[in-house]
Structure formats: structure tokens, C-alpha cells
Amino acid sequence: MNISSFPYLFSTFLGILFAFLLFIKGKRSAASVPFAFDWIAVSMWWFGYAMMYSTKREDIALLWAKFAYVGIIFIPSFAYHFVISFLNLKDKIWSMILTYLGAFLSLMLLFFTNDFITRLHRCSWGYHTKVGYLHNFFLFYFVVVYVNLFYNLFRCYRERKPISSLEAVRVKYVLLCYLIAGMGSTDFLVHYGIVTYYPIGFIFVLIGLGITSYAILRHRLLDVNIVITRAGIFGSVYALVLGIPFIIGGILKSYLAKTVSNWWLIPVFIGVALASLGPFIYMRLQRRFESRLRAQEFKSHEALRRLSHNMLRVTNLNTLLKLMAHYLVKTLKLRFAAIYLLDSQKEKYLLNSSWQSGEGIELPQEFEVNNYLAEYLHLKKLPVVTEELSFYAPLASTPKIKKLFSDLSDFKINTVIPSFLRSSLLGFFILSDRRGNISFTQEDLNLLMVLSNEAALAIENAQFHQKEVAQIVEKSKREALADMAPGASHQFNNRLASISSSVELLLLKMENFNAEAHQDEKTKALLKDAKEALELIDNEVYKGKEITSAILKRAKAKVEFQEFNLVSLIENTYKLVMISCSLSGLDRARELKFNIISPSETLNIFASEALLQDAFYNLIDNAYDAIQDRVRLMSQDNLLFQGEIEVTLAQEDYVVKAQVRDNGIGLTKENQRKLFTPYFTTKATSNKGSGLGLCVIRDFIEMHKGTIACDSEYGKGTTFTIKLPVKKGET
């Protein structure tokens, strides 16, 4: 084995490795397969040369030279194939086929004539190819293909630059790599015998193609600077590592050969030792270079890391979100950043916070839960980079990705970072592109992923804290009320009792007083006025009593959860309402239709039976009153009016939905707004309504972690919708 073949052997090893990795891992892009073949062709060249240099017999060396040339002949066609697939130029398929034909033709010339490779000539490092006049044909073909290749790359670079800076960067980068690799063609000078030196073209090819492969494999062709830096360091470290023993071998050959029998073992040994030290040197240098090269970036990463550490300390949700958006814009030099969080009740991702620098951009206020973006994030669990979508969008089988791409581009969204909390998508961060046409590096994205998941925890923490504070306030309010209410209402009731009894006593006396005996008209009128006033006072007293009893009820309400059947509860409640209505002598002349629509006869729910009974009692009672009001106020125009109360129950996953619908008088828009405020009542007619009803109902429903909403149209009817969780609430 000749020492001059080592660099070629080593390069062959790397070439095969890259080809293998590209086959295995490069499935994501159609371009990686021709690139892998390019590597194989290059490896054939290197392996052939390595063998040729180390062979002593000329005939065998000639065979190896031909073997190497099989590889060399196919390099341009595979390279062209790669570029065409990489640039996604479908109209260039024919020119691609043509290059393959050219390669086959050259292959024929190589094997069936003696004027392609005429002979070998002896150089200091071993036999080397000497090419004949037919090789000129191949050289012509070679140049044409490469010019075509560079032309296509350059054209696409020019065309795509204004559309997508990232795309342009990628093209530029592949162009640069091919320029480097193209310098390997200087070896042809040696082949023609114009100059004679150890052919070093393989180094350029190794660097150029190596950078591209590394970028395809690790960085999705994203991080140009970082890969070039790394490859540069890698290349120089190994050039040094492999060069030292080579130089030692070359210079000290004669001296060593005299003293040691197997003299070449020494440089090999040094080479092996240095090669094993190589990775450490490489890593050390890499860290140093990168930290200098990317000081700015490191600074911003450091800031983001600090942010993610400190986030958990912020317990106010709004402050936290604002802080995050601001920080992201500042450290990453964004145009805007926005944070969307899941609102599980509305089933939407709502814009919770955003920060813009400079000109304002209208961001969407909300995304549906099953929106393309959310779906995509859920599926991929990775950041969505809009410009990356643009590569998949033309290939994508689903129109969804195309739609997603156009939506994101419309809003000038560069990247969307999902924020996961225990595998559920809590929300996402929307980031604009960075000022100065810098794209996000893979490291940026990784860090942002870490940040966003950390943020999910911080957000949950803040949400929890906020809820807890609200609960404590609510609880202390409730407790204060519960403490105060009984005593206060007792006192109040006693005062009321004194007033009402005085009034009623006086009324009784007035009744017994024989007004007719007194002929004085003025006295009679005065007595009549006084009687009316007293009756009014008496009435007011009993309204006051209603209020105290409602307050008392609210204060005493205890949540004792148990499982029971909601259907029978509502049936019983309706009966109770009807009994109390007939007891209070209200007009039941018009028969009322009452319906319960339920998926089954039993619909079990874990809740407080007493509270829900109260709630439904109030709702059905209100519905009844609304129908009475409609009969009273509007029946003139429709004598056939039939009062109807309908309760519809439905279960969706873990939520029970109960709708109480009536076709009564309904509410005006104005009244709907005020509906849940305390002491609001529409019941002008009776002294029945205290105005606490709906406010208390909402309290009861909220104690179950449920919601209540009202939909009504004046003159048509009202529907109350209650949503309750089926399962045990965490109370």
C-alpha cells in the first residue's frame, strides 16, 4: 500500500458514509437520492485512484484507472439530477435524460476505445492517468453540464430571492458548494499532463459536497453559516491531522527507510494518533469559532434562556404573556410576536397577547380548534416554518398544507411555535420574520421549542394562580356573606315584621272604623289615601322579605355533590312549580305544554341536587311567568296561543347541556344584557321577583364549573342553556 493513496482511501470512506446516510435519512427530500448517487460516483473515482496509486503493475493500474473513470463520468449527470430535483424544475427532465445519455456515450468511449485513456504515466506518487484526444469530448460534455447546472442555480437564485429569502439562501448555498466542488476539475490538468502535481481536487469535492450533505441531513439546508463554519473547521483540522504524517512520510522517507525496516508504520501511527485526537481538537475549535462568529446569537439565546427560567415567577397571566411577546420581539429582532391560547369553552385559540415593533399588522383574533394550523401543529409537534412549507406545498397531497401556507404568508407569519402541555396543544406563538433577512436557525427553533414548552408550564401556573386568587376572593366574599346574612336578615325581618304588623293593625282598625258615619268628604278621601299608602307599605315589606330570604339562600348554599338522575329532577321540579303556581292562585286557564327531550330516561350527573333543583325551579318558574305575561300582554292578536315549556337534555363527551326553552314574552336586548346582574327583575306585576333569582342561579351553576347563557327575542320566547360537567368536579 502506497502512502499517497491514503487521502483517497480516507475520502472514499467518507463518501460511502455520506451516501449511506443520505439513503437512510434523506427520505424527506427527493433530491437526496441523486445526491447519494453522486457520492457513490465520487467514491468510485477516489477508490479507483487509491488503488491505482498503490499498484506496481501498469496493466492492473490501467484497470483501476478505468474503474475510477466510470465514477468520474457519472459525477456531472448525478449532480445535474440533484440540482434539477432540488430546484424542483420539472421542465428540465429532458435535459437531465440527455446528460445521462452523454454519460453512457462517454462510458462507451472509455471501454471500447484506447483514445480515451491512452496510457498511464509514472509520477512520484504512483501511476497516473494519461488521457487521449477522445477525452476532449468528455471534457466538453463535462463543461456543458456544469455550466448548465450553475446557470440553473443562478437563475433560480435571482428569481426566488424576492419571493423567499430563505429559499434564495438555500440556492445560493448549494451554488457555493458546487463552485467549491467544481474546483476539483483542476485535476484534469494533471490528467492531460499539462502540469504534474499530486492531484488535490478531491479536497474541494469533499468540502463542497460534504457541506451540502451535512446541511441536507442535519439542517434541512437551513443553516448556511453554521454548516460552512463547521465544515471549514472540520476540513482544516483533518487536513492538518492527515497532512502531518503525509509530510513526515514525504520528507523523512529516505532517512526513515534507512533506520526502520517498515518505515511507513511511523507516519501511519502518527496519523492514527492524530486522527483520534481530531474530534477533540475539532470540538474545541468549533466552540471557540462559533462563539465568536455568533456572539450576537448567543446573546439572544442567553436572553431567551433567562426568560424561560424567570417565566415561572410571573404569576399574573397578562403580565406574563405581554412579557413573553415583548421579549421575543426584542431579542430575536422580530416585527411582531403574538401568543394564542386555547379557550376550551369557546373551543378556539384566542389572541391573548401580541407585541409589534414598527408598523401595525392586523393579526387574526382567533383560530378554530380544528383549524389547519392547530391540526398541523398537533400532528407534527414541531415548529411550522412558513418558508419550509413552501417546499412541501407543491409536493403536498393535501390541499390543507397549501391553504395553510397561503394563510400564513398572508399574515406575514414566518414561524409558528407550538406550546404543548402534557401532549395537549395549550396554544402557540406566532413570530414574524426577523429584521435584516436573517432566518431562524435550527438552534433558534430548538430553543424556541424549549421556551414554548416552558411557557406552557408558566402559563398554566399563572392561570392556576389567577384562578386560585379569584377563588379565595370569591370564597371570602361568600364566607363573609354566610357569616353576616343570618344575623342581618333576622334583624331586618324583625324590623319588617314590626312595620307590617303596625300597618296591618292600622288597616284592620280602619276597616272597623265606620267611615260612613262621618259625612265629611275630606276625611273620607284622606282615609282612602291613607289606606292605599298603608297597603303599598305592606306590599313593600313583603318584597323586602323576599330579598332577605334570597340572600339567606345564597349564603347558605352548600355544595354537596352526589350522583343523581337529571331527568327525574327536572320532572319533579316542573311539578313543584305547577303546584306553587296553583297555590298562589295564578291563572292556569290556558293549559301549558311541558316537554322533556332527553337521549334516555336516565341521565346521571354528579352535582348538587339541591342547587340544581333551585336553579331549574327558577328557570321553569320564569318560563311560566313569561308565558303568563305573553298571554296577558299579547294574546289579543292570537287567541290560539299555546304556552310551551321544553327542556332539552343532551350529553356531549363530558358535558351535559340542558336547554330550558319557553315561548313566553321574551326579553328585549337591553334586558338580556342586564339579566345576570343582582336585583334586576322584569316582573313588574307581582311581588314575586326579588331580582336575585338569575344571579343566584349563575352562582349555583358556576359552583359546578358550568356555564349558563341566555338567548331570547322579545315576543318570541327565551332559551336558557346550561352546560355542566358530568364528572366529579375538583371542588
Binding site: 343570618p486 336578615s489 333576622h490 325581618n493 315584621a497 314590626s498 304588623s501 296591618e504 293593625l505 272597623n512
Partner: protein, 127 residues
Amino acid sequence: MGIKSGRKILIIDDEEALLKNIGDYLKITGYDVFTSSNSANGLELLRNYEPELLLLDLHLKEGLTGIQVLRAAKMLKPDLKVVISSGFGEEEETKKSCFALGANAFLNKPMPLKSLSETIKNLLGVK
């Protein structure tokens, strides 16, 4: 009005104004009414005048509680009709124990005096 039935009623309530008003009202309605604003005096009156019906406030400020008075009254005069009045709103438990101790009716203050006298009329079987 005011058919003199001569039926004797005792009222125990610590709210002087209410006590007087109810007393007057029932007097006009035609009963013999005795009033007391505390439990001790009330039980004294019960022993001395043997009323047929007792209108008792459940929450007395001093002395015995309403419940204790009810128990004592029922011991003294088992056939005594008792109407309880309370300013504390509906308390199912209290109501139940009052009925268990022999109360005949339970009214929440403020109550319309008309319905009070109606209740009394029914309990005493006054025509």
C-alpha cells in the same frame, strides 16, 4: 267585627312593637290576649291564665330559647296549640324539630297578620 270568642291566646316575642301590634290585632279580632316579651314571664302567664294557643318567637334574646320554651309549655299544657314565628328564614331542620316537639304551625317573619289570624282561627276551630 270582633266577635268576642273569649279564647285565650298567649304571645311571647321580644320585639315589643311587634308584640303590641299582634296583640292589638288579635284583640280586635276577638281573642283574649296575653303578651310577654320574655320567657320567664311568658311561662308564668301560661300557668296562670291557661291560654289555648301560644304564639312563640323562636329566637328570644334573653332567658330560655324558643325551643326550650316550647318544650316547657308543652309539658305544662300538653294540649296547647303552638304557632312558631321566626325571623331566620326557612330552616328545614329547625322547622322539623319544632313540629316534633308539638308545634302546630311555623311562620316566617314578617307574616301577614291576616294569614296569622287565619291560621289561629283554623287551629282553634273558630267558626
